[in-house]
Symmetry: C2
């Protein structure tokens, strides 16, 4: 069983509008509303590859009910601490004429210390039956940037390896708590490193590997950096790798990082060697980009992507 | 008791963003979510002026629960037929840098004939205890444009006068069913008349009165046209009037028409002469524009506006 933590889930609402009037009244042609957030995307991918998962998190209001209900529909066991604030929404306005998308991401409800304490008690119990935990996504207002570090320490005390996917100070402090894997993307790693790791043509893989080594030295057992179409750069206890998909794919990159996180934690639980973990993680990310909805993919795309991934040992760092 | 029909209520979500990036990620500074729609605005105004009101309508999903819960918080008796679709959302993005607002209005859930039949049974029972009914707002997909006509006929059979506030074919057919009052705005009356009723400086009051006479000839006992800052033009069984506020007010015009509808139905139930009904209706509309939120106003603004309204008999038509 893999435990997935969703401290700031969301109801994701998408409107498709052919030619948006940004100063007037629009009548969206297509409307989609779905429970989301990074944790839920990870869970959807885990379910799709047949891994057992359960969710713990924070939820409140009628939007919180939508999140609970979506996990019920997925058949995923979930327990949410009920909070007084309302679970957030995100709005995406897709202009189908221009192809541009505007995202409006609410920060989430303010979480009280008593609510967080209730969550921690539930989290500690849930850890007992699990073989790994995924700590993923933004923190809602009211929770300190040390929250993921605390949850990683609790996981460590329970003997449960943690995969951490967040950014900024929460990433820095969480990494120092010694999780099994941290999984920043390029921009998140650059922010932590305090310098650019890119050239005009994209990620500078040598510089990325060096920064990943530095981040690993701060605490985590492994650092896996997602580079979009450039694949993954991994610095681990067994060495460093680059894993790249066979060809660039077009599609919706939202949730591709979550599919990678799901692949990494699944490989960890299965005890796969790093080379295999990375192969599956890249393939899941690639298949996810091809699918129109975050956290979903076609098995045929997964199988095809898996056959095409190249994993090379890296000497950098 | 005044019955208010809400066939297509909404959860209105507003984001305030200082300088919107229409092709990127925005983090709204202020977020507001509130049950809305024209029917709910009418009810809020009725409650604010101390009139007894109850609501019947259609609601589904977690957004439908938000609507039920909001009416519970207001202390307004409400009964909604539970539908399989989800009650709609509206989304407003207020760019606090440019002052522009983009509105995204979902059309609403598709309503089945069995769901509408269940609603009608409930509506018929509710009519029995009421002295007037307000039929207000857009119709959700699946309901015919003759829906308000049917509901107006049922009200007539029960001896309950109806106030109809809608647009397009639903207004034309509803007007033919002989309600007590129809309340189009200028654009809605122009659409029904099939011609412009404006000059470069605004509404042509003589042309408006003529078109209101024509609409009245099609069935309703009275036609009251809202002209924004131009006040009201009324053509009734007791003659024609123009009622105008003392001065132009600035603010949020959303819901001003609903405040007018509330004033009209309240005056009807109280048996006020037309001149008084119009005076209160204009004052409520004016006070509503001054308030930041649809359906709310300050009593002092209402009293001040009431003192300033001028009502003149009109000879036009």
């Amino acid at each position: 069983m893999i435990l997935v933590v969703a401290l700031n889930p969301a109801v994701d609402v998408t409107h498709h509008v052919p030619g948006v009037d940004w100063a007037g009244v629009n009548r969206p042609a297509v409307i989609r509303a779905r429970a989301g957030g990074k944790g839920l995307n990870v869970v959807r991918t885990l379910r799709a590859i047949g891994a057992e998962a359960q969710v713990v998190g924070l939820a409140g209001g009628s939007t919180g009910e939508e999140v609970r209900s979506a996990l019920g529909d997925l058949g995923v066991p979930a327990a949410f601490t009920r909070i007084s604030g309302d679970t957030r929404r995100t709005f995406a306005v897709v202009d189908t004429a221009s192809g541009e998308t505007a995202l409006f991401n609410e920060p989430g409800p303010r979480v009280g210390q008593d609510e967080y304490a209730d969550f921690c008690a539930m989290y500690e119990k849930a850890l007992a039956g699990c073989r790994a935990v995924v700590l993923s996504g933004s923190l809602p207002p009211g929770l300190s940037s040390g929250t993921y570090a605390e949850l990683a320490v609790m996981a460590g005390s329970a003997g449960v390896p943690a995969v951490l996917d967040t950014h900024g100070e929460a990433l820095v402090r969480g990494a120092a708590a010694g999780p099994a894997i941290v999984k920043p993307n390029l921009a998140e790693l650059e922010a932590v490193a305090g310098r650019s790791l890119s050239t005009a043509r994209g990620a500078d893989k040598v510089a990325v590997a060096r920064a990943a080594h530095e981040l690993r030295a701060a605490g985590p057992q492994a650092v896996v950096v997602t580079l979009g179409a450039g694949g993954l750069c991994a610095v681990t206890e067994d060495g460093a790798w680059h894993a790249v998909p066979s060809a660039e794919v077009r599609g919706n990159p939202t949730g591709a990082g979550d599919a990678v996180a799901a692949g990494l934690v699944h490989g960890l639980v299965l005890g796969r060697p790093w080379e295999e973990r990375l192969r599956h993680a890249v393939a899941l990310g690639t298949a996810s980009v091809t699918a129109p909805v975050a956290g979903e993919f076609r098995n045929a795309d997964y199988a095809e992507a898996l056959a095409g991934v190249r994993v090379n040992r890296s000497e950098a760092g």
